[in-house]
C-alpha cells in the first residue's frame, strides 16, 4: 500500500523531511513506525508517541488503508 507520512518537531529533524511517500506492506501504524524508525534512526519509542490517521487521532494498531496519511506525534509542548 502507499502511505503519506508526516513528521513534526524532533521527528522531523531526525527524518530530515516533513513528509514522505512510502510503499509498505505494514498493516498498522505501529508496523509503519517500526519501518520508519529503522530507516531514519528514530530513537523515540512508539509508547511515547500518539498516532493520527487522516487528520484524526487513531490507535497504533488500527488497520491502515491504501492512501492513508499517517502522522507520529511526539509528546506535545504547546502553551
Amino acid at each position: 500500500m502507499n502511505f503519506t507520512l508526516r513528521y513534526f518537531a524532533s521527528l522531523r529533524d531526525a527524518a530530515g523531511c516533513a513528509e514522505e511517500q512510502v510503499a509498505s506492506a505494514a498493516e498498522t501504524p505501529a508496523a509503519l513506525y517500526a519501518e520508519a524508525a529503522a530507516r531514519h534512526g528514530f530513537t523515540m519509542p512508539l509508547a511515547r508517541l500518539r498516532v493520527a490517521v487522516n487528520g484524526a487521532f487513531a490507535h497504533a494498531d488500527a488497520a491502515l488503508h491504501d492512501g492513508d496519511e499517517v502522522v507520529f506525534l511526539p509528546p506535545v509542548s504547546g502553551g
Binding site: R6, F8, A9, S10, R12, D13, M44, R48, R50, A52, G55, A56, F57, V71, L73, P74, P75, V76, S77, G78, G79
Partner: protein, 137 residues
C-alpha cells in the same frame, strides 16, 4: 473558538470579543515566553503545529469546556512560528455569569491545550543550542 496565529496575538482585540451584558466574570490567561527554563537562559522559541489536528482538537477542548462549565464565551489562540521573549504564546479568554465557572473553564482549557493539542515548542538557549521539548506525560 480555537485558532492558530502566525503573527503577534492582539490581546486587546481578543478581549473586546469578550463583552456582553450577561457577563459577571471575565478571565484572560496568557502564557508568555519567559527568559529561563530549567536553569537555562532562553532567548526565544518557535512553535510548530500539526495545524489540521491542532484546530480540531483545540475546538473540541473549547466545546468540552462549554459542556462542563456554566460559561458564556470561551476562546483560545495559540501562536506558531518564531517568538521573542515576553511575547504571548497562548491566549485563553472566558466569560461567565459567575467567577467559579470562569476560573474552572479557563484552567481546563489551558491544561487540556497543553496536554492534547499537537503543538511543539523549540527553545533557543543563550549558549547557542536549540531543543525541541517533548515532556514526559
Amino acid at each position: 473558538m480555537f485558532a492558530l496565529s502566525e503573527s503577534a496575538i492582539d490581546a486587546s482585540r481578543l478581549g473586546r470579543g469578550l463583552e456582553s451584558p450577561r457577563t459577571g466574570a471575565a478571565i484572560v490567561f496568557e502564557g508568555r515566553v519567559r527568559d529561563h527554563h530549567q536553569g537555562r537562559q532562553v532567548i526565544g522559541l518557535a512553535y510548530e503545529a500539526y495545524a489540521e489536528l491542532a484546530l480540531a482538537e483545540g475546538s473540541r477542548i473549547i466545546a468540552e469546556a462549554r459542556e462542563r462549565f456554566a460559561i458564556e464565551q470561551a476562546a483560545c489562540v495559540h501562536r506558531v512560528g518564531e517568538l521573542s521573549l515576553g511575547e504571548t504564546a497562548v491566549w485563553v479568554g472566558v466569560t461567565a455569569a459567575h467567577r467559579d465557572a470562569a476560573f474552572a473553564a479557563c484552567r481546563y482549557i489551558i491544561d487540556e491545550v497543553k496536554a492534547r493539542v499537537p503543538i511543539w515548542k523549540r527553545e533557543h538557549y543563550a549558549e547557542g543550542a536549540s531543543e525541541w521539548l517533548h515532556p514526559d506525560a
